[in-house]
Symmetry: C2
Subunit: 400 residues, 2 copies
């Protein structure tokens, strides 16, 4: 941490001014912090003409419920490097890095303030017709171009090493795969769910399936993941979809990002049961969310396959049928990871406002019960999903 200091607004403003890259020399700048302050400082620096940039600085700890959790500043380097690499192959859907300072754990990013965070938009019932297509395009492009299909083995091995991210991976390892499946202090659920949670924690088949997913998370460096594709990491408007915040990035299983995203759509789907009382309105939202899931898988598989069929460098991986086999395995993984996202967002440490924001306690509890059921069933049946159609059938049978 030599050379590191956590900035206040004045220091962030001064830093940007001194760079002399983003504003006119005589611009009158204003700066304010607006992050949630849990993991990072986030400043907006703006001039009086409405131009602005974002200054994001990592803090050396995570302030989580009731505890302070030391966290490597190296995640700022990783986040900026993932954005640069993902931006190089999918510029349309990756927030742009304007400047990077690893010593200060600081990144300057384009300001996406004209867009809105997806989670809030979905919670308020907005829909975005291109969302599935755009996120799938991002996931297919970024995952293909950092996979063994495309990279030379030497490049890939060097990148795996560059993106070793133990602190942030440990958070996922604990919160996704450990805590919810055993009594853990960090778990967080209403006592009314206790008997359901107890059953879950005694379900040997479920815990075996989760162990397989965790083992893959440990040791399946298929590509450079974003690592945290939830609805709070996506900025949207009618014409734009931008991924932000890949500080959890590392080389892991492709299905993890895909499953996390679909999991967040499903959490919102269930949450609408407790949010929207108008039946037609709710049906419309449900239809939209399911069609977005279809769009996501359709576009992801089609785009990944198209890239792989035309740009696979490795001779052996060009073998007939391998790409299709690989995508089937990615789908199974995605369904499994999707299930773990539903479970951990319901009874683990970090919840989603989609559900927690349901004011009626009974309705909220009902949604939580549904999410816990759906999550477990997806984990348990993931391996049976040989195709998208299998997954849709499974989903429909579980959502009834």
């Amino acid at each position: 941490m030599a050379g590191y200091i956590a900035f206040d607004s004045a220091q962030a403003l001064e830093y940007v001014k001194n760079l002399g890259e983003f504003f006119a020399k005589d611009a009158v700048l204003n700066c304010y912090e607006f992050g949630d302050g849990n993991l990072n400082l986030v400043f907006r620096v703006e001039d009086q003409q409405g131009h602005s940039v974002i200054v994001k600085q990592a803090l050396p700890y995570a302030r989580c419920v009731g505890e302070s959790w030391p966290l490597s500043l190296d995640r700022a380097r990783i986040e900026a490097s993932v954005l640069n690499r993902h931006g190089a192959v999918c510029p349309n859907h990756t927030v742009k890095v304007l400047h990077q300072n690893d010593t200060l754990a600081l990144t300057i990013l384009e300001d996406l303030g004209h867009l809105a965070i997806l989670r809030g938009e979905l919670n308020s019932g907005s829909t975005f017709p291109a969302l599935g297509r755009d996120v799938a395009t991002y996931l297919a492009s970024t995952s293909f171009y950092h996979s063994d299909f495309y990279l030379s083995p030497a490049e890939k091995k060097a990148l795996v090493s560059e993106f070793i991210n133990p602190d942030l991976c440990a958070i996922t390892e604990d919160l996704f795969f450990d805590d919810p499946y055993r009594q853990a202090e960090r778990n967080n659920y209403p006592s009314a769910l206790s008997s359901e949670v107890a059953k879950l924690q005694q379900n040997a088949a479920l815990k075996l399936a989760v162990a397989k997913l965790k083992a893959k998370f440990f040791s399946s460096p298929q590509t450079l993941l974003h690592g945290d594709v939830h609805s709070g990491s996506i900025f949207v408007d009618a014409n734009n979809t931008k991924l932000i915040d890949p500080e959890f990035g590392f080389f892991g299983p492709i299905g993890f990002d895909l499953g996390s995203f679909i999991g967040n759509l499903l959490l919102n789907y269930l949450a609408q049961n407790g949010r929207v009382s108008s039946v037609p309105k709710r049906r419309d939202l449900h239809t939209y969310l399911l069609s977005t899931i279809h769009q996501t898988l359709d576009v992801f598989q089609a785009r990944f396959a198209a890239l792989a069929h035309s740009h696979t460098r490795d001779l052996s991986l060009q073998s007939q049928g391998y790409i299709e086999y690989f995508l089937r395995e990615v789908l199974k993984d995605a369904v499994g990871y999707c299930g773990t996202e539903l479970v951990r967002r319901t009874i683990g440490l970090a919840h989603v406002s989609d559900i927690d924001g349901i004011t009626d306690e009974q309705k909220r509890l009902q949604v939580q019960t549904q999410a816990l059921f759906l999550g477990q069933q997806l984990v348990l049946n993931a391996d049976k999903c040989e195709s998208k159609e299998d997954f849709y059938q499974l989903l429909l049978s579980l959502l009834q």
Copy 2:
């Protein structure tokens, strides 16, 4: 390569003398080079009382059939580091490192000259009752203690990075998984095998299975492998089994080492058909080799399971049934990699003296045909081997 020079015998002697660690101050030392000179220099430094050490130095290239292949000197660091790590958990079966100099790409090792290289011993019909048990003990111990079962995620990730070994992995990637399955200059087989090779190279199911094995070799860092467990990397006598030469070490799939070893036993099994004309003698050798394969799998699975059941650190991987599931997957991988070893040793660049040393051309060709058949069938049927018994049944049906 700054500071590196390739030693001659006088320089190797001088280096050892100057260390002052291994011999009496006034000892009269003698030194000679006796390696095959393809990849490394290997010197023996000895005094007049019969004490000796081995000095092994990496060359910056590999002299392979008709070409010079530049090769990172970093493999000397990797080899010594693998030996140190493997020796720490399995001292009985790992050659001892006495000194390491990464700048000179040089390692001083205990002299195992009182033992013999396994391949030559098997070729001359010797048997070693503890061979399977010892190699299995080595493989189970070294693979368990460097796996996600045992290491903390942060330790494991750091080690994966430390043992990134692109140059040597590339050799395996090319020679095991690419060359034999397509027309490649480096392939080496008699023209009488051409039609069999052409069929092999057009077998889509086989190439798909090989692609899956290659993908796992790329991206399944389960443990710190030896990376080159063939009969030439094992020193033996009646009471000792010592693994040497892990310069191909990296974090890869556990089944790779296991399959390579079994593959070498099977190559010798087939070679005996062309080496030994006495039916009872041949039957005895066959019985010995098959029982060594049984012993290897029995002891490997039992020992890995015992370690995992009592020393697994990871909470999730302790889930009921996970260890057994994991070992089933390792077995399938091992059968597949075993098959690729048979294929590549028959038609690829690097052959084995077990077969090439058969003087009668017709007999040799017959053995090569058998090895090619067995290798392909093992690759094609590996996924059906849910248990050791399934594998033995498969093997017996193929060896008839």
